[in-house]
Structure formats: structure tokens, C-alpha cells
Symmetry: D2
Subunit: 474 residues, 4 copies
């Protein structure tokens, strides 16, 4: 979880769908749900609801750039009447950070109104768009949801149910996708066959919820039912839940970085608690990169749990070395690179009392460009730390991700251009240890069905020839 | 022209397109152009520009709810780099006044980015949407532009040029439309074969402009070249202007209300000065409904020119009887209907000095529900007018318009339910005279090719079975 | 009246006070009152109300930069409960256009809460501030109201009634002031002994109103009672109106420019209708500067009435030559001075049909720097006018005003540096005539008690040695 | 530190002053300084700067309601040129949360412009205001700064230096105050003789800084010099620092709650690290209220350090049981008290994995009304905690604070109305222990000069007869 701090890696997206079979309005619960998923995307957000007892074409939408509490006010939520709906929080790179790309995507097709919210990235979106355009389609956004919506709309002409059309669309799209869809009378949750991104189901009273992470269920007081399985299509109607697993494959590729960094520590995904994953990562680090030290500290927020794991395993006391200023918001003015402001350190301050005259083990979840690590190590030393031993709770970042994570190009990745020893020197640490790629499965209880392509280059699906963002968004 | 006052009839829309062959940015000129067309629509507005020397898919868009000076700021205009672009000001009924319906519509299709701005209303949009949906189309807005865009995109697959595709789309769409389109390398202006809505071409230095009214050309310092003819497709490329009139029909149906009310008096449309039209209307009223009186006054702004015409013809002196408060904006708080606030009259005040003890001829452009006329007549009498003779510079409003004007349903039209004598009594006037429907052609120099359906029920095209706004927007 | 167009001369301020003896809330009526006085100041505005049956220290204030409809929304007005209150619209030069200078000034003193709204300028404010500071006063604004409030607060310690304290304060302050004050139980209106700025009383049901102009009374449906006389203090309590004229002097100096330009034409001030004043000015111009021409036109809005007067007197037909775009608001982006934008003319357009091939008499209220006149004359000629004869409904501007009008320094005044012939040539006119200073009294029915210092340099009070704006606001 | 979460107790204020002797602009550094003090007040904030080489009356002010990153943008900071200035973050109860009460207070007095920012509460402000009003003063705000400014302005007439006037004002004011003042050429820091609120001095290059907490010095890259002592007046001029301790008394009364709750853990105040204080509090709790348990957890953020202290002393492992959502901002829509939303828990979620099946010691800094504690204990039990033993790192809250802390009235304090056993039952805990009032001095290294009036009722100064907020703000 990253707080409002600028993501080191880029976040991705969060989705939340709800259908209250008793007919109660769902907008305010979606609001709180999105709020609890805010760490997954802070660029824009939106909610679309409709009434299942209304005409097939009805919807209320509110979308905008900014945080959940910036985009919606009490009046807007009050006005959004509907017992079914979906919500979305979004992160994207700067280029495509435009109003028309906010989600959910709301559209009319032959059977009425459809609202979609999508987390992930298709790798064949460029081809699909081209194909669709070649049959006369027009595109008003550069988001994958629009491609998916088109495919569903077309397939719906041939099959009797929207969930069937969704399934046929799944046969065409490739990549990472966890989607919630509200049709006039159904709430549908879909997870791609590789299960790249998480998705789970919950229930509160007589209302069903489909959300990216279980923490969203906790926040709205709903009970966790189960994860949606890779390749599964879950359809909720007034009759209850139906499941179709005919698209499930035999190979999973869950994003391991969801556990290391993206998700909230209190979420459970595919049976694994994110917090426990991080504790485990810390323990492994302690086994593989032990060091004689006085204290173990985590870089907040995501490094804290791993630091605790390192402490448990090593016996070195756990401590809190950083105070994080959580007021940094979207409109915060960044310090200039001038000489005078170079020493301004707004987000983190070191607790001198804790690290002074100590040998410190500092745990962070990753090193991307190295500049942040450099500043933090320096701050610890300025505060009196005698030694700073950096331990990273993931293997070195070497390859781009095509499945929903915004990782800079290889050129910018410090591990791509430098040996570990060089990195250690560049960031001013006394020693540096990364998590062993071979032990990643221990983070998720030995499950082998995960994706580690950003560390190994072993992509579960061939990467696209042309990057999807290139053509449409610049 | 209605000032910022709430329209009695509803406005429609205004379009402005520009292509600078020298490669200069066009956004700021489009801004001033839209500003001069603000009277045609005050609900939302937008500008989209792109670079003709860029990749085929590039565009900069800024759209929003509100007036031109509310939606754009200097920074936004500065950022919008592009030598080709289109702009739009929009009016709609409350129901559809939503962000996703703002124009221009910007989309990608097989050949690149297309931006459309549309003034008018299609009468077969519902059927076309249904047909498109039946072939798998999805719709993200409820504006006609989206239907038109689809048709163009589909036809483009079969023909070699975008203007050819536009022509083929015109064979399918029925109704009122004046459209400007920016394709990757061309600026296209289209006017429907009946010529319901105006559209003209201008030039400034080496840049071409296509706009709803000639006043927009004056404002930006461009020279008026000519009107686009009904059914004509004008294509501007780096080579200059081309024209295709193969869609022109032999029957025109220019909206006569453009002259009476919608357009700015300083605009010239199809060879006729709007101001002169109104002078003529006033003269006809003086001939047909003479009265012994001391002064002729107009209800601002649109009634003023007709009042001057009445004065010229009758010899009764022209005077200014009303002071209009032009600060009424979008956020103005309307007086409540409570007893205490019922006497508040914020938009108009009567110049007592001018009308006291006088027999007044009061000219207005129309009576819709009758409530406004009632208040104004009363205000004149309160200010000492001995008699108030109301003259209306159009025939009585009896039928709805399906071609771009937002006229209330017949039930709400006072002339639908009452005789002229009854209306006269209801609004408290001493006499009442309407313009004779048989003399409307005199307003446009005897041209018979105009539409008077709102007065006669004689629709040039059969009205739609289902009103287009019904299904999509409520 | 200037519309939302930028003032040529600078506006000043408008005040509106109200006390409803029946205990009804007054905030919404003050809102509409200020709205009708918006032409007097468009920079900032505010309303302060309190309950006369509450504790002596209670008030509700809402102030801000911008137009009345920008600063207040329905919720804010709803919340402002109180049966007594004052409001203000403000204009100032750029330097002092800061939030802390918005009025009304609301303060606590020994007897409770006092709210003041002031129109005018004191010429001894600098000395008074210095004196007050020398006795320990602190100042949080640079507006005269604060000086006046201090004097009232100090005098109130020595006398039994607030209106007595106001009177004693009047003995100390010199200059132009029309003030409304709400004390815990009284509404007070004061006009300086010279009567520079207007102030009048009205009544609606059981509520009293004190306003800068009578048009504000019309707007809120109140009846005009009478003007407050120069030097008069009017006190409204639950018992009704009391008047104290003991401060009235024998020399009046009403600002003649209120009639020529500032005030709304539908206002009556000191028995004279502003509209009639302007008609008279036009007639005088026709007598003094006759010309052989085809049409007389006014530069909107303030030139229109004078043009009508010129037409009446000369027999030359009156016409409307300009269409004004009233959507220009505070946030409007001004055209750059670049070559390409130099021809953009956003606020006015010429009705070619009216002036083409005509000899035109063009009436404006004043020439300040000459640049605007130059552009308008050119626009008329571009539209085909054969001759343009400029007539100005005031004498040439030669001297600064210290009594509430923001006139540029002499250096910038074209008439200060050029003969009339030179000005005529500079603005490209065929002839130019100003109103004769000796006939100004005819504008106000022969009343000699007016100030013409800006034309004559004859100040009714010695100008201040140090300009009040200098020290405090820069 | 409370994050953006709503304060349980109310925050107070934070001040930051800076004078750059090299003449560099200070506004952006003040911005970052205020940002690091945001936890002390989130209601409004402001910055005022001026140039020491300008005229004595010059200043640039920007103030507003909201967080630091909401009130200021890059353009505003850019425009604020000045090498001396003060800033303020403010908290107040709802009633007085109005724009006119934002600080710094900027005023002109006989010697030029003075800007003041104040943290604390005077207990004789009502009397002082009355006295000042009796000599003719007027008040435009209800903040103490205005009273202090008046006194300084008056005394300045009798003495030769502003710091002398400050000293004389200190002889009159009673209560809690830490103030920074920018005069035309001097930056002054003052702390009341009891030292209720903290204040310290730092330096960066050739610029001096005076701030509420040392964490602000760290954030802007400044070096901590020393605390300002109780009763000390520090004056910074172009010559350097001067100190006047003649007002220092022999009795100190530093607010102990600054260490327990208000201040940031990384701040050092009067030689004590706040973090260490909290560690100590946790250790004492472990000594006095031991319990057989499996894990110790803190309620974030303020409970975490005490929890770590408890863990150290008891040997029970420390754990993280709560995930806090730091995105809750000012505009957050609070869940309704409806049945359906009662289970929504937006700010905190429990890490089930950590507490399930565990006996938990939960450390919080205080219990005010008991409702929050009740919810948190319940959430732990819902997550599977077998036992929840609550330990509070302060004694029970029994008396109101008149020195700058917003504590609810005694009636609302749970400890005022219930025994500890009753509270334990009310909040659903298995045991409850408070910090012993007799050991509070251990939190600050045995220093006896602290105020514990909110626990003991032993006020270092007699409380005011009339509460200062009563008259002016409601």
C-alpha cells in the first residue's frame, strides 16, 4: 500500500461492483468500496449505477479526475439512484491521463445499458482495435474496456445471454483482466484465465459485491465469500450466483507484485493474506542476507511488514525509523531542484532517536531507478545510523510488465544497467540483498501459478509487438 | 439573440471549424469564434484540435459544462496545439444536459482521428441507432454526432475518401444538420439538403473557417466567402476548397426562426441580413396591425430590431423601454415563488420616464407559454403606460419542431389552447397582433424555401414516430 | 451602465441595506439588490446580516472576489439568517483588489456588532489613519470603511446613540461617502454633505431599504420613498425612520458623471432620471455640434440614450449600429496583441447593414485614452460608413478624481495632451464634438450643485496631498 | 500525530516564521514547513511575507480554509515575494471556523506592517477585548492574535522597539501562547512564561526559522538550534539573534499532551524526543498494568510508539493490527448512521491474520467519549481476538483545557461520569489500564514543570470566568 505518496512503480486500477437484490441504492457503498481501493489508483475514479426495475436503458454516472473524495460529494452520491452498479479507481501514465479515459465505461448496445470497470491490460488490444475498425467501429477512448465492450456487444447478437457474450469475448481478448459489468439485470465478474489480477465476491445482507480486494469487503461491512477463480465468469441475478468456469485454463499467472507491493496488507487474495506474504518475504531475506545489526526498519508503508518478518527471523529488534507525512495530495507543490530546496524532504522524516548510532537493516519492496533509495539511505546516515543494510523484498526489476503494471522502460531500471554491487554503492548502502527469485512461491504458500516476468522475462503470454499505449494516447 | 437570459424557446447549437494552411495554431481563434456563437448554446462547449503534420491519430480536446469563458482558461487554450480543429457550443433540454454529451465528438476510426461538431437534429436517429446496434455498435452518448460518425466510419471502408464517406452517410441520415468535421488532413463542412440550419465559409490570411453564422467570421477578423449551400459538402485540404453539391435537392426548408430569434442580428445567412429580416417583420406588423400609439418599444434583445421596423413604417417614435441586467449567469439564484419574492424582477426593468402616460406598442419575437409576456405587460402598466399593444414578430406557435429547436409540447403552448383574443386578455394587453404566416417569405427577400412547420404543421420531412430524446436520455 | 465589459473609467461601488421590521430574513433581497447594482462594481461583493432579536454580537457574513452570482450560491444565502443587513459591490484598481478589502466591513465594538458598506473616497484618510495609529489603532484593510468604523467606535464612547457617533465621525472625515450601517438594532444611511454619491430610501411591506440607486428598489419590488439628502443621517429603528440633517452644508457637489456614465439609466437620483439626463446631453450635442448625416448611433450601453437625444433634436434617424456580446466575463481570455489576433473584436460587432454607405454620427460618453474610440471608428468605416462624426456626451477629461472614480493619471488622458482637433485625427473621425462644460447643469434640470472637477479642475474640496492608495495597497 | 483522521481531542495550531538574511524568498520554505505541521491544524492555513528592503508597509498574504495543499498552489507561492514571513495552520471548533479567523493576522500600525501567527489560548482575552473596546478599539476577528496585536501597537507608542512592545504586551496577556511575528525588519518568536506550547529555532544557510516543532526544521533541511525558553523573546534582525528572558518566570507548565498526542513523534521539544516519551509511556503501562497476552498493538498513529514501549518492557511481541486509510480528507462523505451503513468502517481495518486467536494488548493515547474505543475493540474481537486488554498512555481525562486544546465539556468525557471498571465494560474490553498521573514526569525525563490540569484539575493559571469562545463566535 502506498499511501498518497507517488507510486514508485505505478499503480493499476481497482474495481467494485454491487447488486442489492432488495432494491436498495448501492452508490454510497460503492463510494466506500472505492475509497478502500484508492491505493490501487489515484488518478481518476467513477461510479455508474442503474435500476434493475427501470427500462433497460437507464444509468447514472459520475466520473472525474482525482481522488474518490475529490470527485464525489454528498449531493452527487445522493442523486445516483440504482440498485446495481460498478465503480473504478484508475492509475495510468501521464499521457493517457485524460477525462475521456475515466471508467466505468457506460454504453448502450442492443440490449440496453452496460457499465464496465476493468483492471488489467490486454496485450492484443491494438490488433483487436484494428480489426474492429476494419469492420467500421469507432473508438472514443484509449482504454481496453471499450474493446471488450465492443466484443461483448457483437457477440450478444449471436447468443441468448450477456454472460455468454462475455465468454465469447474472452475467447478473443488476451492479457490481464479483472472486470465487473453491470447489465440491465445482471452483475457479472470476470477474471482472465491466468488470474493476473485479483477479484473476489462478498455479501452484505441481500446484496452481492464483486471487488478487486477483500479489504473493500471489510470496509463496507460485507462478508468475504470467495475469490473468483482464474477464467471464471460469475453472474449475479435476482436468482443468486451462477458460475461458469469453462474458460479456466490449466496455467495460472497471478501477479506476485500484488502481494509484494500493490495490494493492501489486510487483503486476502487466492487464500493468501498479503500481510503474511510480506512477513514471509522478510523472513526469507533474513535467511538469505543475514547481517549483524541493531535494528530492522521498513520504508513505509509497504516495507513495514517485511521488516517485521526480518526482525522475527533474525532476532534483531524491529523499529519505526520513518515518520510519513500523509497529507501529500494531488495538488501538492513539489520542491524544486534548486540548491536551496534540495534538502527539503517532505514525505518522510527519520526518527533520529531510533537510528542514531545504530546499525540499521532497512527493508524496502523494490528499487526502480535508485534515486529514492539513495535519498533514504542518506537520511538515515544523516540521522546517525552507523551502517545501513538495504534488503529488498523482491528480486531485481529487469523487464517491463505488459499486464497492468506501469514499470519504466528497461533503460531506466537501475538493475538493468548495474550489478547488485554497483547498485549498493550507488545508493550508498553498506550492503544490499534482494529476495531470491527462486523462493517467490513461498510468499504464496508454495503456489507455482504466479507471474514473475518482470524479474525473469518469462512472460506467460507473448508480449505485444506494439505497445498499446503508443498509438492512441500520445 | 438572447443574452444570457434563459431562452424562451431553447437555443440550439453553434459550430466553428478552422484549418490554417500555414500551420499556425487554431485553438484561440476557435475560442473567440465560439464566444461569438455563445447565444446559440450556453449549456456546454468544447474544442478539439490536431496537427495535420502529425500522425493520423492525434488530438487535443477540452470540453465541459458551462459558457465558453467558464470552460476554457488561457492555459488550456495555450496547450491545445493544432492547425486544424472544430468547436461547439451546445444547448439541450435539462435531461440530456450531461458531460458525456458535450461536443465535439472525438473518435478514432480506421483512418485516424475524426472530430465532429453538429448543429441540428436527425429525425431517424432512433432507427439508425437500432440498426447500428443490431450490427454490434455501442453508443456512449445520446447525441446524433455519434450516429453520424458511425456511418462515416463504416462507409469509409468502402470508399477512398472521407468526403465520399460523408456523402454516403448523408444518404442515410434524415433531418437537420450542419456539421463541421476535422479529419487528419481535411476540414469538411456539410449542410443537410433542406438547409435547415445555417453554415458559411470564411477566410483569414491562409486559414479557412466554417461557422454557423457570419458574425463569428467578423469577430475573428475573417472575411466572409459564401454560405455553404443546402446539400453541399465543402472539403478544405492543403490544396484549397472543393465542393460537392451532388446531394443538393430541389426543396429547401431553411428555419425561418433563425432570422426571427436564434441568430445574431449582425449575421448574414443565405444572402439575408438577420437585422434586416427583423426590420421587415416590424414593418409588416405595422401594416397589418396598425394602432394609434405614442411609442414603439422592443423586448430586448430580439424584439428591438422589429420595434425599429414598426416605428419606421408607422411613424410612431421608437424608444427604449427596458433596461436589461446582463449579469444573470448560469449560477444565478432564481427568486422563489414566495409572496415576498414574487415582485422581484431581476432581468428587466422598465424605464418609467419613457413609457409613463404613453400608449405603448411592445414588440416581442414570440409568445410561448404567455407567462413572461404577462409579467412584462404588467410592468409597463405599473410604470404608467396607458395602453400596451403587443405585436409579435412571428405567427402563433402551434406545433413542435423536430429539426433542432427545443419547443415545449403543444399542451404548453398558449396559442395551441387559446384564441388570439383569449391570449390578449390573458397577458393583459390592450391589443395583440401576430405576424401573418403568409408574409413570412418577405423576411427573406421572397425566398420560398423555408420551413414554417412550427406555425403551420407542414413538416418538410415526416416527423419521427418516436422522439429521439425519449429512450436514451431519461 | 457598462455591462460586463471592462469599464473605460473604472466603476466605483454600490451599497444596499435593509431592515425588515417584521423579522423576515433579508439576505436574499440584498442579493437581488446587489445584483441590480452590479454595474457599479464587479470586482468583489459581500453581504452581512444579523438578527435584531439576537445578542448584540451576532452576524453572518459572506464575501468574496467576483460577481454577485459567482460569490453567492443558494445554500450560502439560505444560511444567512437575519432581519437586518448590508451588502456591497466593489470596484477598485488592480493593486488593492485583494480579499481583505472586500466589504461590508464587519466588526465588534463596545456596543456589539457593526456592519458597514461604503461608496466613495475620503480625501483625508491618510491623515486619519496616521492619527488613529498614533493612538494605538491597528488596520487590517486599506479601505476607508475601517477608518470610519474606528471613528464611530471611539465617538460612541462619548455619546448615547450610534447615530450620534456617526455624526461626530462625519465631523472628522472629508470626501465622498454614501454609507449604510447595520448596528445591532438600527439601520443607518449617511450621505456626505456634498452629496457626491447617490443614496435613496425605499420600502417594501414593512421593510426599509437604503440603496445607491433607485433601480435596486425597482428590482426588489420596493417603493421609492425619497433620496437621502447631502449631509443627512437617516436612522431606521423598530419605531420607523428618523432623520438628522444638522450636518447638511450649503454647498452640494453631486458627481455629474453618475448621470453621464456610472448609474443605470432607469435610476432616479435627486429627482432626475438618468435616462433623461442622457437624452438631454444628446440634444445639447445636436445643438452645439450639428452635422449633416444619415444616422445617429450610440456606443452601447451608455451612449445609446444620448444618441437617441441627438436623433430627436437633429431629426437624423436613430439606429443601432453595434451588437454587443454580453458574455464577456471575468475569466475571459483577452486576445493577444499578436498580428494574427489584432483583428479579433470580441465585444462589439458593427451592423454593416445599418451603416454601410452612410454618414454616421456616433455618440459615446467619454474618451479616456482614445484607443477604444479609434478601434470603433475604424470598425464603422470598415463596415462601409462614409463619414463618422464622433460626439461625446461629456466635456473632455482633464483632471483626476479624488471622490470615488478611478480615472487614469493625467498623462494617460488623451485630452490632457492633445487638442480636440488632434484627438479627432488620432481616432480617425471626420469630426469631433464634446459637450460644453457650461451646459452640464442642464443634465440635472439646472441644478448648480454638482461637481465637474474632472473636466474643470475645480475641486469642491482640496485634493489630498498624498494619494490614499499609495502607501497601503502597493 | 493524527493523520487526516478527525481528531479525537481537537488539535490546536502550528506556527512557522522565517527570515532569510540573504534576501531570498521564504514563501516556499514556509509552505513546506506548514506542511510538516499540518497535524497541528487542518481547518485553515495562511502565509504572509514581506520584503525587509521594501517600504515599512508591504506584505503578500494568502490564506484560506483547508489543508496546506488545498489553499496554496504553485502560482500563489511564486507570487509571494518576501524575505521575511510567517505561516500558520489552524484548528478550531466548528463555530468559529470562519474565513475571517484564518491566520496569520496581517495589520498596519504606526511603524508599518506586522504579521502574527499564534498557537495557544489566552484566558483573559474577554477582559482585554472589553478594556480595549472601552478605549475605542474595533475587532474584526475572534482570534487572540488580534488582542495581542492591539496591545503591541499601543505599547509601541511608548517604547523604542517592537520587541519592547511585545514584552509589555506579555505583561498584560495571560494564558498559553507561542507566537511568531514578522515586523518590517525583524522576526520575533515569543513563548509564554509557562511554556504551555512548544517553539524552537533553526537555521538553514543564512536564514533563521522559528517553528512550533523541530520536525518542521528537519523537513525544510534546517538545523535545529535550540528551543525558545518559556517567557523568552527571541528577536532576529539582520545582525543575528537576540534574546530577552526577563519575562521568564520560575514556574513552567508545559503541556504534557504535546508529548502524548499532539506533536509529531520525530519532534524534539525542550530536550525530549516525543517518540521516546511515548516509548516510556508504554513501558510504564507495562509495569503498572501487566497482562498475560500474545501481542501488543497500537491504535495508529499516536498509539504505535507506546505499544512498542509496552512490548519492550513486557517482552510480549509487538505487532501491527490496523491498516489505516490515509485518504480520508476534508471532503470525505461520512457514513450515515443508518442500519446499512453502520458497519462501514472506513478509516481503520483490522489485520485478521495478526490478531486472530490472540490475546491482544491494545494501546491508545486516550479515551474521550468512549465511542471510538468501543468500535475498535469490537473490530478486534470480530477479527478473532480472544481477549482485548486496553491500555491508555495517559491518565483519565477529567477537566477541560483552557490553554489551547479543544476538549469536550466534562459531561461528554466518559471518565468524568464513569469509573474505570465501568469504562472497561462500556468499551467491551477484557481489562483497562490508564497511565498513572504520578508518573507523567517520567515522560519528560523527570521534569516537573508540566501542566496536567486536564487530568488533575490543577490549573497553573485560574481558568477564565467566561469562556472566550462564547460571546464572539456563536
Amino acid at each position: 500500500m502506498s499511501g498518497v505518496e507517488e507510486p514508485k512503480l505505478g499503480e493499476e486500477c481497482g474495481v467494485f461492483g454491487m447488486y442489492d437484490l432488495d432494491g436498495n441504492d448501492v452508490a454510497s457503498t460503492i463510494y466506500y468500496g472505492l475509497f478502500s481501493l484508492q491505493h490501487r489508483g489515484q488518478e481518476s475514479c467513477g461510479i455508474a449505477v442503474s435500476r434493475t426495475d427501470g427500462p433497460p436503458r437507464n444509468s447514472n454516472v459520475c466520473k472525474g479526475m482525482g481522488l474518490v473524495n475529490e470527485v464525489f460529494d454528498a449531493e452527487a452520491i445522493e442523486k445516483m439512484q440504482g440498485d446495481i452498479g460498478v465503480g473504478h479507481v484508475r492509475y495510468s501514465t501521464a499521457g493517457a491521463s485524460v477525462a475521456e479515459n475515466t471508467q466505468p465505461l457506460v454504453l448502450n448496445y442492443i440490449k440496453g445499458t452496460l457499465s464496465l470497470a476493468h483492471n488489467g491490460n490486454l496485450i492484443n488490444a491494438v490488433e483487436l482495435r484494428q480489426k474492429l475498425e476494419l469492420s467500421g467501429a469507432i473508438f472514443q477512448t484509449s482504454i481496453d474496456s471499450e474493446v471488450i465492450a465492443y466484443l461483448i456487444a457483437r457477440e450478444r447478437l449471436n447468443v441468448g445471454k450477456v454472460e455468454e457474450a462475455v465468454k465469447r469475448a474472452m475467447e478473443k481478448i488476451k492479457g490481464a483482466y479483472s472486470i465487473v459489468i453491470a447489465s440491465p439485470r445482471k452483475l457479472i465478474g470476470v477474471r482472465d484465465p491466468f488470474g493476473f489480477r485479483p477479484l473476489c465476491i462478498g455479501k452484505r445482507d441481500n446484496a452481492y459485491i464483486i471487488a478487486s480486494e477483500s479489504c473493500a469487503l471489510d470496509t463496507v461491512g460485507a462478508e468475504f465469500i470467495r475469490d473468483i477463480e482464474p477464467g471464471e465468469i460469475v453472474t449475479i441475478t435476482s436468482e443468486g450466483i451462477k458460475s461458469d468456469k469453462s474458460m479456466s485454463g490449466d496455467k495460472c499467472a497471478k501477479c506476485i507484485f500484488e502481494y509484494i507491493y500493490f495490494s493492501r496488507p489486510d487483503s486476502y487474495m487466492d487464500g493468501v493474506c498479503v500481510y503474511s506474504s510480506r512477513i514471509t518475504a522478510g523472513k526469507i531475506l533474513a535467511q538469505q542476507h543475514p547481517v549483524d545489526a541493531d535494528i530492522v526498519v521498513g520504508v513505509p508503508e509497504s516495507g513495514n511488514a517485511a521488516a517485521m518478518g526480518y526482525a522475527m527471523e533474525s532476532g534483531i529488534p524491529y523499529g519505526t525509523a520513518f515518520i510519513k507525512n500523509s497529507y501529500v495530495g494531488r495538488t501538492f507543490i513539489k520542491p524544486k531542484q534548486s540548491a536551496r530546496e534540495s534538502s527539503v524532504m517532505v514525505k518522510l522524516n527519520v526518527l533520529r532517536e531510533v537510528v542514531n548510532d545504530k546499525r540499521v537493516v532497512m527493508i524496502d519492496d523494490s528499487i526502480v531507478r535508485g534515486t529514492t533509495s539513495d535519498r533514504i539511505v542518506k537520511a538515515l546516515k544523516d540521522a546517525g545510523a552507523k551502517e545501513v543494510h538495504v534488503r529488498i523484498s523482491s528480486p531485481p526489476f529487469l523487464y517491463p510488465c505488459y499486464f497492468g503494471t506501469d514499470i519504466p522502460s528497461s533503460r531506466q531500471l537501475i538493475a538493468h544497467n548495474h550489478s547488485i554491487d554497483e547498485i549498493c554503492e550507488l545508493i550508498g548502502a553498506d550492503s544490499l540483498g534482494y529476495l531470491d527469485i527462486n523462493r517467490l512461491d513461498e510468499l504464496i504458500d508454495g503456489d507455482k501459478g504466479y507471474c514473475n516476468a518482470c524479474f525473469s522475462g518469462n512472460y506467460p503470454l507473448d508480449p505485444p509487438k506494439e505497445d498499446i499505449r503508443g498509438d492512441y494516447e500520445k
